[in-house]
């Protein structure tokens, strides 16, 4: 079991005063369990400066926590300090989880997974919605062909999926600045460069194009690992990975940026079809000037 204090600081500076603004934050971590780990958000605090005129919380279609807030008086800087205390617990380590999955899911044919998904909705909201194309994840032919290489050589679902993750990890080069939010997946598929959301969108496209249900997860990674653990890539900002649905098992998280099955070092905040559904902070502002954005994330293990 591991407890964390996560501080996600976002600040904006505007060259011209903002007269009016509407925002949505998806920064509050969810509490839930999967067959491999459990997560509990013990405490969360969202401090917004200046003080918003209006603030309202709700759950979105996917069950993520959303906080709406708005301003109607001029300001030139905004800071959002999201601090959460989260507990992650898993009985596995990386080696152990692979052994567990390969043994437990040894008999699961990937063809059967697709067949079960096609046969109808047995959960609510339907997991099948995650096998359709979405705004950031078109079902590209390239992704399908790429994925087929892993699925053609074996009938085992778990083997193919883990191999696909490893191939993406190896074929892609982690290159901050090579892509932006909104870089088309087609470009990412061709260049094989980018950051965690590009890795994840591509892996999602691979799995969906074959008929699997796969969702996008936004969250955090442990910034400074405890002695003996490896420091993972993508820890300075929020992180992203994906999660594939396995009938009668549940959701299996996969982090292609680190070639890992997320366990205790990952913290989930929200999930959806792609980045657009879970953007940590979005908004519409009335201002004609330039915006300067600064983000810092600190994930500190608690004793």
């Amino acid at each position: 079991m591991q407890r964390y204090r996560v501080q996600h600081l976002t600040s904006y500076e505007y060259s011209e005063a903002v007269s009016l603004a509407y925002n949505e934050a998806r920064l509050l971590p969810r509490s839930f369990e999967t067959p491999l780990y459990a997560q509990h958000c013990l405490h969360h605090q969202l401090n917004i400066s200046p003080r918003p005129r209006d603030r309202h919380g709700r759950a979105d279609f996917f069950g993520n926590h959303v906080i709406f807030f708005s301003f109607d008086e001029g300001y030139q800087a905004m800071t959002i300090d999201s601090t959460s205390y989260v507990q992650r617990s898993s009985p596995f380590d990386q080696a152990g989880v692979r052994a567990y999955l390969q043994e437990g899911l040894a008999d699961l044919n990937w063809a059967d997974v697709i067949k079960t998904l096609k046969s109808g909705v047995d959960s609510w909201p339907p997991v099948q919605q995650f096998s359709l194309a979405s705004v950031q994840v078109p079902l590209l032919e390239e992704a399908r062909n790429y994925a087929a290489l892993s699925f053609d050589r074996t009938t085992s679902f778990i083997e193919a999926v883990l191999e696909l993750m490893t191939r993406i990890y190896e074929d892609f080069s982690y290159t901050p600045g090579a892509t932006q939010i909104g870089t088309p997946l087609k470009t990412i598929a061709a260049e094989k460069k980018g950051v965690c959301q590009d890795y994840s969108h591509f892996m999602i496209a691979c799995l969906r194009s074959l008929g699997f249900a796969c969702r996008y997860v936004s969250g955090y990674l442990e910034t400074l690992p405890l002695p003996g653990k490896e420091r993972l890539v993508g820890a300075d900002a929020s992180h992203a990975w994906c999660s594939v649905y396995i009938p009668e098992f549940g959701w299996l998280d996969l982090d292609p940026t680190n070639n890992q099955v997320p366990l205790e070092q990952h913290i989930s905040v929200a999930w959806g079809r792609d980045y657009d559904d879970v953007t940590p902070l979005k908004g519409v502002i009335y201002s004609s000037g330039k915006q300067t954005l600064k983000v810092s994330v600190d994930v500190a293990p608690q004793a």
Partner: protein, 833 residues
């Protein structure tokens, strides 16, 4: 006497089903019409046709196809109505009602627990892949207040449904306008036929929208949310706004504060209860929906979620505009209602299923192909119209993404009679029916919008394809009583809703300015052309004198430097050409034609503010300048004369037939500011330079005549022509409507009546206005008229101060009342690592 009854004798439809004839004999419900219509003489018929064209044009009935304000395709209306018997209509009406109910149930289900998907009645992909399924709207209360469906008569005589419209169906205003025109052109014919009236439907519509208001007690504040004057159907938004008494607003006229929606008005923010949506739902809120659209209001969905406002039809209802639903509709009707469909849909195949997809691929060239989501307006493809290559391409698309495609059978259409080129011709007709929600049920309009194809055999019937519309008559057994609550026709100024939206005031202000500017401009040009005609071009002494006056006047236009213009015939020709361009060329950005264009655009933006008389005058101004260019000075002069008369008529209607509320005040303030500006410029150009005595007389005379002051001057000062007297009359006089002083006094009066914040200090614009008026009042006409060296410098200074003060005043005034908000932009988003 010859009559047009022969028209019916030559009418020979070839299809199996025709609306008018059965076994070569008119059907019973057409007999009365044929009898009455047949009595008309060919002349009367022709007269009626031109009457209709005139009527529609004057009411500004257009269907915009070029994205320009009011420049759309003229609406065409056939003299022959579509006529339905009472029995026939009962079936249609019941069918439409059932369908509306069914679609409301589908809407609630999809945005609720989705039983239809869980029970495998409809496939998940059909909903989740549809562009209209808006996740942020899930779990909210949904409304299908207004529904429309397109019906077509098959060759088998059955009515078939081709389309369902559930987002923001258009056409209801056009249907009403068609009825208004036809019943006024054929009052006798119409009254003798016992046609069901439309007014009760509009009363239901009003009741339906009002019932949505979440606010307890008091009258609901209802607005129509429109994409604006460039939208295809803006005419209808304005028409409905004035007919139902709602403000027509655009997204940035609304603002969300503390979870409530407000309309920006001259008097501050006014809470809005119900939004009648004519904007695509996807574009309604750039926070939660399409972030790249600036047409909506950010925060709107949040307000809907908190229940402080209702949107009709609800945001997300475009989900129902999904032809992929059609094949499943019978099962859905069975599931929800335990009923069979009263009106069948034309045979449709959703290509997300293997067997259906195979059938479609094999029969592509005989089918109509649609996408499940309306991505752009031209999304319907007729397989028969495609070549081999296009067919192959489409097949590949369907193979790859079948779930996005639907194929439909091409309906074998019946025919109905349409007047075309003086003959009665069989054409295919589409009937759009409308329904509004009334409690648990729906009220169906007894009639609808009928549209005919441009030619026989063409099944593409839409406004873009250039078809003709028809009035739709539903006959009844009982005589129809007139519901006096609603006058069927275009409403006058007093129907403007009481709150004055900032945008409306803004537009009215600019209508005032452009109208006045155009008038002053036209007067100046007219006077210049007159001189040009009189000048011989030879260097006579008289010409020389005239030339100086002419030159100073030209300077007032601010577009010529006279130094290099010589008094000779060559220079004349050049000058004349330049003036022609300034007067007539549409591409001259500051010319008269462009100015009229601005006037028309601003006026169209507040279409519902004008009476039909006012609109007719504006329309005539447009027509006058739309005609081919003329190169004869005489012809231009007479054109300018006509224009001035029309603009004066418009001004007269503004002051005589518009209720003198805040809107009128802004219109008049625009006028006053502009008139004062133009007169100051003229005074500066003509009276600041010092001429010799002979020249001065001519200059003064020109000044007085261009500003319409010559008669007043003669009456007051007889034959003594001096600069001092001219200044008193043209600059100072506060009782002379053609003097600068008068304009400033009127502005003061208006300013006092504007809503202002409480407090003991004057606002910036009040101070500015006091400064300008005081400057003028404290000046002295004698010292202003005195000249040192070559100019009257104190006059020059005063005029410059007045002009600057006035322009500053206008900027502050508009900034205060018209709330030009900054542009909304998306917050920069952060990347994940």
């Amino acid at each position: 006497m010859t009559t047009v009854s022969a028209l019916f004798k030559t009418y020979a439809p070839a299809s199996a089903f025709d609306e008018l004839l059965q076994a070569d004999k008119p059907k019973a419900h057409w007999e009365a019409f044929i009898r009455e219509f047949g009595r008309l003489s060919p002349e009367e018929l022709e007269q009626a046709s031109s009457e209709i064209r005139r009527h529609l044009k004057e009411n500004g009935v257009t269907y915009n196809t070029h994205g320009q304000e009011g420049q759309g395709r003229a609406w065409l209306l056939d003299l022959m109505p579509s006529i339905y018997s009472q029995d026939e209509w009962q079936l249609v009406s019941r069918g439409v009602k059932q369908r509306a109910q069914l679609f409301k149930l589908i809407l609630d289900d999809c945005y609720g627990t989705q039983e239809l998907i869980k029970e495998k009645i409809i496939p998940l992909e059909l909903i989740y892949n549809h562009r209209g399924f808006l996740l942020p709207s899930h779990g909210l209360k949904h409304d299908l207040s207004f529904y429309a469906t397109d019906l077509a008569r098959g060759a088998d005589g059955k009515m078939w449904v081709l389309n369902d419209r559930a987002q923001a169906p258009s056409g209801v205003g056009f249907a009403l306008e068609n009825r208004t025109v036809i019943s006024s052109v054929f009052p006798h014919l119409f009254q003798s036929s016992q046609v069901a009236r439309l007014s009760s439907f509009f009363r239901d519509m009003q009741g339906s929208f009002a019932s949505l208001s979440p606010r307890q007690g008091g009258e609901a504040n209802i607005v129509i949310l429109s994409p604006g004057p460039r939208s295809e159907t803006f005419f209808e938004h304005a028409y409905l706004g004035s007919y139902l008494g709602y403000n027509v607003v655009q997204g940035d006229d609304l603002t969300v504060r503390d979870g409530y929606v407000y309309l920006k008005t001259i008097e501050g923010l006014e809470q809005v209860d119900v939004i009648v949506r004519r904007l695509d739902d996807y574009n309604c809120d750039s926070l939660e929906l399409n972030g790249s659209s600036s047409l909506g209001t950010p925060g709107l969905l949040e307000a809907v979620r908190r229940g402080t406002v209702r949107v009709a039809n609800s945001i997300g209802s475009s989900l129902l505009e999904n032809p992929g639903l059609l094949p499943f509709l019978p099962s859905i009707a069975d599931y929800f209602l335990g009923e069979a469909l009263i009106l069948p849909s034309v045979a449709s195949w959703w290509c997300g299923q293997a067997a259906e997809k195979d059938y479609v691929l094999a029969n592509l060239e005989r089918l109509v192909i649609k996408r499940i989501s309306r991505q752009n307006k031209r999304q319907t493809v007729f397989g028969a119209g495609l070549d081999e290559e296009a067919l192959a391409q489409l097949r590949a698309q369907i193979r790859a993404e079948g779930h996005l495609f639907v194929a439909q059978e091409v309906l074998e259409h019946g025919t109905s009679p349409t007047l075309d080129g003086g003959r009665l011709e069989p054409r295919h007709t589409l009937l759009r029916c409308f329904a509004v929600q009334l409690g648990e049920t729906y009220s169906v309009m007894p009639g609808g919008l009928s549209r005919s194809s441009a030619r026989l055999g063409s099944v593409l019937i839409n406004n873009r394809a250039g078809g003709t519309s028809k009035d739709t008559w539903v006959l009844t057994d009982s005589p129809q009583e007139h519901i006096s609550l609603w006058q069927e026709g275009y409403q006058a100024e007093d129907y403007l809703p009481s709150q004055l939206a900032s945008r409306t005031a803004d537009n009215l202000f600019w209508v005032g300015r452009y109208a006045e500017r155009a008038e002053a401009f036209a007067r100046l040009l007219r006077s210049l052309f007159q001189v040009l005609n009189e000048l011989s071009g030879k260097r006579s002494s008289q010409d020389r004198l005239e030339w100086s006056a002419f030159g100073s006047q030209l300077e007032a236009l601010g577009k010529f430097s006279l130094q290099d213009l010589e008094l000779n015939s060559k220079a004349f020709a050049k000058l004349q050409k330049k003036l022609f361009t300034l007067t007539l060329a549409h591409d001259h950005p500051s010319g008269l034609a462009a100015n009229l264009g601005f006037l028309f655009a601003a006026a169209y933006g507040v279409k519902s503010a004008w009476s039909s008389d006012s609109w007719r005058v504006l329309d005539a101004c447009q027509d006058l300048w739309r005609e081919e260019k003329t190169s004869k000075p005489q012809a231009v002069s007479s054109k300018l004369n006509d224009l001035i008369s029309l603009l004066m008529a418009f001004a007269g209607l503004n002051s005589e037939s518009m209720s003198q509320g805040l809107g009128w005040r802004f219109l008049d303030m625009g006028r006053r500011i502009e008139r004062a500006r133009m007169m100051i410029k003229l005074l500066d150009a003509m009276l600041v330079p010092v001429f010799n005595d002979l020249e001065e007389d001519i200059v003064l005379e020109r000044l007085l005549s261009t500003t319409e002051n010559i008669i007043s001057y003669r009456r007051r000062y007889r034959r003594i022509l001096t600069v001092k007297h001219a200044l008193e009359l043209v600059l100072f006089d506060e009782a002379n409507p053609r003097a600068v002083g008068f304009q400033l006094r009127r502005l003061e009066e208006h300013q006092r009546q504007l809503p202002r914040s409480k407090g003991y200090t004057l606002s910036v614009e009040e101070k500015l206005l006091i400064e300008v008026t005081s400057r003028l009042r404290l000046a002295d006409s004698l010292s202003l008229s005195q000249a040192r060296s070559k100019e009257r410098s104190s006059l020059k200074n005063l005029l410059a101060q007045l002009l600057e003060g006035l322009e500053h005043y206008a900027v502050v005034l508009t900034g205060h009342y018209f709330s030009h908000t900054q542009v909304a932009v998306q917050l920069k988003r952060q990347e994940a690592g």
